[in-house]
Amino acid sequence: MILVVLENQRGNIHAFSKEAVVAGQQLSEKLGLDLSILCLGENASSLREQASDYSAKNLILAQHDLINSYSADGYSKALAQVISELSPKYVLMGHSYMVRDFLPRVSAKLDIPFVSDIITVDYNSDSPIFSRQVFNAKLATKVEATSDTVLLSFQSAAFSSDGMQIGGSENQSDFSVNLEASDIKSQSEAEFQESASGVDLTTAELIVSVGRGIESQDNLPLVESLASAMGAEIASSRPVVDMGWLPPYRQIGSSGQAVSPKLYLSVGISGAIQHVVGMKGSKTIMAINKDEDAPIFEIADYAVIGDLMEIVPKLTEEIQK
C-alpha cells in the first residue's frame, strides 16, 4: 500500500498535500500498489470531504479528541499506530513545516527511514530512487532506502497538483486512534500572524534582491543605488534580514514574501530552495554571482558570472547616464 497523509492548513487541504497525492498516484501506478489517503487529526472530516474526488482505493479518517489540534506528540503517535496497523510500503507527505516538526518522530518511533525534501523519483531499478538537494542546492543526491516502510516528503512543486487524477475512492473507513492525555506533553497555542507592516513587494514590477554576497551592511548602498536608478524595489534573502541589514518585510522566500515581478535581479544570492520558492514565478530572472555553478543559475534566464562589487557600481553608473 501507498499511504498519502493530508495536512490541514487553516481549513483546507495544504497545497503540498495535493502534490503528495499526485506523487502517490504515480508511485501506486508504477509499483502496482494500492493508494490510500489518510485524513489525520485537525479538521479531518472536512479534509475527507475535500478529497472525496481524488482517485484512490481507500480514504481513511483517523480522528481523536486529543489530536483535534496539532501537536507533534499526538500526531506522531497517531500516525505510528496507523502505519503499524496498515504496513504501507511508502508514506507520503509534502515537506511542510508541520512535517519537519513531527514526521522524524514517527521515523524514530518505528525505526524506519524518512527521506525528506525529495525533488524527483526515478523508477529505472527494482525499487524507486529518490533525489534530494544537498550542499545548499549546489549538488543533488540519489538516495536508496531499505525498509519495509519508508517515509517520504516532497519539496514544494516537485509534483504539480495539475496532474491529479480525479475519480473518487472505492472505500471509506475509520481508523480508531488510541491516545491518552498523558501522551500529549506539549501545549500549542493558536496560530497567529505578525501585524503586516512595510512594503508589499507582491505588486512590484522590478525587484533588485540582495544576498549574503554583499558581505557587509556598509556595501548595501551599492545595491540601493542600483535599485533606485532602475526604479526597482529592494528585496533580500534571509541572511540579510537575519543580520539586521534590511527589515523582515524585504525578505523573499518560504518564510518571507512570494513575488512575481517582470524582472527579478538577484545579486549575490546562491539560490537555496527556500529562497527560490519565493521568486521563481518572476517573468525574467537575471542573477549576478561570482560562482559559475551557483544554483540560482539553474532557474535564471540570464546568468551574469562575475564580482558584484565591480558589476553593480558600473551598471548603476551606466543607467544613470
Partner: protein, 255 residues
C-alpha cells in the same frame, strides 16, 4: 540546568563543492569547514538563557565528525562561552539521519540534558531531522523552527515559525529538544579573553564503534540540471555591463 547545543561543521559557502572519486561524497580536501548557520544561532540562544538564569546552568557544545573538520568549530563554541565540549569522533561519512541521531542519543544519554538545541537544518545533508529524532529517541518533548524562547513556570515556551508569516507558541516540559531557526538572535563573536580561556576548557572525546545500520544512503551525487535556457554572461566588467544594459533596455525594456 544542562543545555547541549549541537553544532555541525559544514563547508563554507565560498568553498568549491566537487564530487569525489567515490561518486557519493565530496572532495573534502578543498573545503573550508565552518559552523552550520542555524547552529550558531542555537548556541547564542543557549548562552543567553544561561546568562539570564544566572545560576549554575551549563552549556555544552556537541559535535560529531572527524577531528580535522570539526576542531575549529568546537574551539569557536568554547571561545564564545560554552562551558565544555563533547566531541564524537566519527571518521565515517554517515548520511542517514536516523543512524546519526542514534549515535548522538547513545553518546548523550548519560548526560541527561534538560535541553538540547540544534539547528533546524544542516547545510550539507539538509535532512532537517536530527534534533527531532534525538528528542524522540531520548523521550524528550520536541519543537522545531524556534524563533524565540522563554522560560516560564518550569517549562520552556517556544515561538515556532510556520509557513508564510504565521507563528505559534508551544509550551514544552523538560527535557526538551528544540531546533532553532536563523535570525532568532544576534550571534556573538568570540572575545580575545574567550579565545584564551577556551584552551583550558574540558572536551570529552568519544569514539564510536561502528556507524550502525544505514536505512537510507547516498548512492550518487550529481550536479542538478538547468531547467531553463540560460544565457551566460561572462567576460570583463565592461563587456558584462554592456550586455546587461542591452538586455535591460532593448530586450526587457525596463529602463
Amino acid at each position: 540546568m544542562k543545555i547541549a547545543v549541537l553544532t555541525k561543521a559544514i563547508p563554507s559557502y565560498e568553498s568549491s563543492i566537487r564530487v569525489d572519486s567515490s561518486g557519493s561524497w565530496i572532495d573534502e580536501s578543498v573545503v573550508n569547514f565552518v559552523v552550520n548557520e542555524s547552529d550558531s544561532y542555537a548556541l547564542e540562544e543557549a548562552l543567553q538563557i544561561k546568562e539570564k538564569l544566572n545560576d549554575d546552568t551549563e552549556v555544552v557544545v556537541v559535535i560529531m565528525g572527524n577531528e580535522n573538520n570539526t576542531s575549529k568549530v568546537l574551539k569557536d563554541g568554547l571561545a564564545k562561552g560554552a562551558d565544555r565540549g563533547i566531541f564524537i569522533n566519527n571518521e565515517n561519512i554517515d548520511t542517514d539521519p536516523l543512524s546519526i541521531a542514534k549515535l548522538f542519543s547513545e553518546n548523550l544519554k548519560e548526560e541527561s540534558f534538560d535541553l538540547i538545541f540544534s539547528g533546524l537544518q544542516s547545510d550539507d545533508l539538509g535532512s532537517g531531522q536530527t534534533g527531532v529524532l534525538i528528542g524522540e529517541l531520548l523521550g524528550m518533548s520536541t519543537a522545531t523552527l524556534g524563533i524565540e524562547t522563554k522560560m516560564e513556570d518550569g517549562n520552556i515556551k517556544v515561538k515556532r515559525e510556520l509557513e508564510s508569516g504565521w507563528f505559534q507558541w508551544v509550551t514544552l516540559p523538560f527535557p526538551a529538544s528544540i531546533s532553532i531557526q536563523s535570525g532568532i538572535n544576534e550571534p556573538r563573536y568570540p572575545s580575545l579573553k574567550g579565545i584564551m580561556g577556551a584552551k583550558r576548557k574540558d572536551v570529552k572525546s568519544l569514539n564510536i564503534s561502528s556507524s550502525g545500520d544505514n536505512k537510507q544512503k547516498f548512492i550518487e551525487l550529481f550536479i542538478p540540471k538547468t531547467e531553463k535556457v540560460t544565457e551566460r554572461i561572462t567576460g570583463d566588467v565592461d563587456s558584462i555591463v554592456a550586455r546587461m544594459l542591452d538586455i535591460l533596455k532593448n530586450t526587457l525594456k525596463v529602463i
